[in-house]
Structure formats: structure tokens, C-alpha cells
């Protein structure tokens, strides 16, 4: 099954070209030009991995990550940013980002990280489903 990716960046040219390259690699890619647009898409669509820029206007990547973790905790987030300080990097990982890459990025490495993130998300979803089944079994006393 193709990985469903949401690519978030305020550089339109970057979004266009990166999404085309990821599509060539068999991924199902949607794009958002701002953190707010990304949150709105995540509320209505299902994605496996969000590739998120750190520095964006209005709402930055870290703020967006906090919201994403609240609404879709199983969603995997990879930061892809122009430059990151050690402090911001640590904060991103503490907030639950799966990985962090600097631009310009090696597409093969990014592709590998996306595939691993997809697997991780599937495991998390399976565990959530198992926990729900166990809860039902316990409550219904079957």
C-alpha cells in the first residue's frame, strides 16, 4: 500500500517539485502551504506521515506538531527544514517528531525515513486496535 504523505512548506516551488519526486517513488502525496492548512487537511483526511517545515509564517512547525500530536497521536512527523538549531531539534524530538532533516535533503534518505515512519504508524494503529478489542472484551465479559 502506498504511503500517504502530507508535505507542508511555505515555499510553493519546493512543494511542487518535492511532491512530484515523491510521487515518482510510488507515494501518495498531498501538499499544504501553511501549518493551518495542514491541520485542516489532517482533520478531514487520513495520512501516514507528515513532512513538515520548521519555520513558517503565522504558525511554525513546532506549534503545528503540538496540535498534530493532540488530534492524531499515531501520525508520524518528519521535520524537513532549512536550518535547525540544536535547541529546536531537541524540542522537536521531545514533542514527538520521528526525525529531522536539513534542506537540501538526499531524497533516498528521506524516502527511507518516510517508509520507516509508515511502518511505525501501522504498528501504532495495530496496537491501538488491539487495545480497543481488549477493552471491549473486558467490558462485555465475553
Amino acid at each position: 500500500m502506498a504511503e500517504r504523505i502530507l508535505l507542508v512548506d511555505d515555499e510553493k516551488d519546493f512543494l511542487d517539485i518535492m511532491s512530484e519526486r515523491l510521487k515518482y517513488r510510488g507515494m501518495d502525496v498531498a501538499t499544504a502551504g501553511s501549518a493551518r492548512e495542514a491541520i485542516s487537511k489532517i482533520m478531514s483526511e487520513s495520512y501516514d506521515v507528515v513532512v513538515l517545515d520548521l519555520q513558517m509564517q503565522e504558525m511554525d512547525g513546532l506549534e503545528a506538531l503540538k496540535v498534530l500530536r493532540m488530534v492524531k497521536p499515531e501520525l508520524q512527523v518528519i521535520f524537513l527544514t532549512g536550518h535547525v538549531t540544536l535547541e529546536k531539534g531537541v524540542e522537536a524530538m521531545k514533542l514527538g517528531a520521528m526525525d529531522l532533516m536539513e534542506k537540501p535533503a538526499d531524497i533516498a534518505i528521506l524516502e527511507d525515513k518516510i517508509r520507516k515512519a509508515h511502518v511505525r504508524k501501522m504498528i501504532l494503529v495495530e496496537k491501538q486496535a488491539e487495545a480497543r478489542v481488549n477493552e471491549i472484551m473486558l467490558n462485555k465479559g465475553w
Binding site: 516551488d13 517539485i17 512530484e20 519526486r21 509564517q57 536550518h83 536539513e102 534542506k103 531524497i107
Partner: protein, 217 residues
């Protein structure tokens, strides 16, 4: 209460913040160029498997690369111009040119804060003898404070204007609750003063025509 910032620290912070902002934007341009090169590589690989190359698509990609090179080149020119502002302590220059450079250097920061900077052309050239680097520091520091307080008025206009005994940098519209900009050391260094017009919501930074006149330091 925290210690007031020294003029040296303020200058260094200005240099650091502007360099960081421009280098970040440069990396964005490089990232786009990198992905275009990567896409061309992908297309070549696909051409090797029999998928034909589309000349129109290639032309578009080349145009995009040129656009990003132009963007990066402009940024480097501004960065270079700013770096050379410390070459001379005092110089005679056009204040509108200083504002044009300041807008180029601070636009990204303004956008990050949800604002935009607009230059209002002055009717006549506004030449003054002053410290180019400290004028940039003054504008950077003022913009940071004004954009933080911009509220709904996210478009900030900058204008250079001749006064009877010098020149003024005018920022508008500023927050109606604003009383002053907290940069006493930089203002003192430039022998500048600030005045607020609540009616027009303009902040005036008034600079002398020649900073070397009656200079005590």
C-alpha cells in the same frame, strides 16, 4: 528586572539575526535547485526505460532553476552590502537606500511575524552623514518592536524624509499604545531622537544631517 542591552550586544544581535535569516532563505533556494537537479536525474532514469523526455517540461524546469539562482544572487548581494556597512564608521549616503536595504534584509522576519514592509518613496533624495551599520541596527531593532505590536495593521510603511536640520525615518502605522522604542544607546550613538504622532500613528526617528558636527566621542 533584566540588565539593559549594551550597544555592542545590540549590534551583534542585529548582525547575527540578519545573517541567520538570509542564510535560511538561501538554503531554501538551494533546496529548490537541488530538487530540480534530482527531478532531472529521475527523468533521465525514466528516459532510460523508454519514457520520452518532454522538451516543454525541461524548459520549465530550467526556468525555475534560473529563478532560484536569481533569488539567491539577490540575497547574497544584500548580505554583502550589509556586511560592508561596517567598513566605514561614518559615511555620507542616501537614507532611502538604507531603507531599501533594510526592507530587503528584514522582509523574511516580517513575514514570519505575519507582516509586510513597504517603502514609501521620498520626493527628494535624503542624504545624510551617519554610521551606516548603526542605522541598519536602529531599523532592525525598531522593526522587531513595531512588528511585535503591529496587531491587525500588519503592513508597516517606511519612509525617509528631509527635515529642517537633518532627516527622519518614518514608520507607520504604529500601535496607538506605543510610547517609544527602547533603544536609547543606539539613538544616542546616532545622535537621534524619536517622536510619536498619535494622530497619524507615525513614529519618527530623527537623525542629524551630519553626525560629525559637534561630535563629542
Amino acid at each position: 528586572m533584566s540588565e539593559p542591552e549594551s550597544i555592542e550586544t545590540c549590534g551583534l544581535r542585529c548582525f547575527g539575526a540578519i545573517s541567520a535569516s538570509l542564510s535560511h532563505e538561501l538554503k531554501n533556494a538551494l533546496a529548490i535547485i537541488n530538487e530540480h537537479a534530482g527531478l532531472l536525474e529521475d527523468m533521465m532514469l525514466m528516459a532510460g526505460t523508454g519514457r520520452p523526455l518532454d522538451p516543454d517540461r525541461l524548459k520549465l524546469l530550467a526556468g525555475n532553476v534560473m529563478k532560484q539562482v536569481q533569488r539567491a544572487d539577490t540575497m547574497i548581494k544584500h548580505m554583502n552590502q550589509f556586511a560592508h556597512s561596517v567598513d566605514v564608521t561614518i559615511a555620507c549616503s542616501d537614507l532611502e537606500d538604507a531603507l531599501t536595504l533594510a526592507i530587503a534584509l528584514n522582509s523574511r522576519t516580517a513575514v514570519m511575524k505575519g507582516g509586510t514592509l513597504v517603502l514609501e518613496p521620498s520626493a527628494t533624495p535624503v542624504r545624510i552623514t551617519t554610521c551606516p551599520f548603526w542605522v541598519q541596527t536602529l531599523i532592525w531593532r525598531s522593526l522587531n518592536e513595531l512588528l511585535e505590536r503591529a496587531g491587525a495593521d500588519r503592513q508597516l510603511h517606511l519612509c525617509a524624509r528631509k527635515t529642517s536640520d537633518g532627516a527622519a525615518i518614518i514608520f507607520s502605522p504604529v500601535d496607538h499604545m506605543l510610547t517609544n522604542i527602547h533603544i536609547p544607546d543606539v539613538l544616542n550613538h546616532l545622535k537621534a531622537t524619536q517622536a510619536l504622532d498619535i494622530q497619524t500613528r507615525e513614529l519618527w526617528i530623527i537623525l542629524p544631517a551630519d553626525i560629525t558636527m559637534n561630535r563629542t566621542d
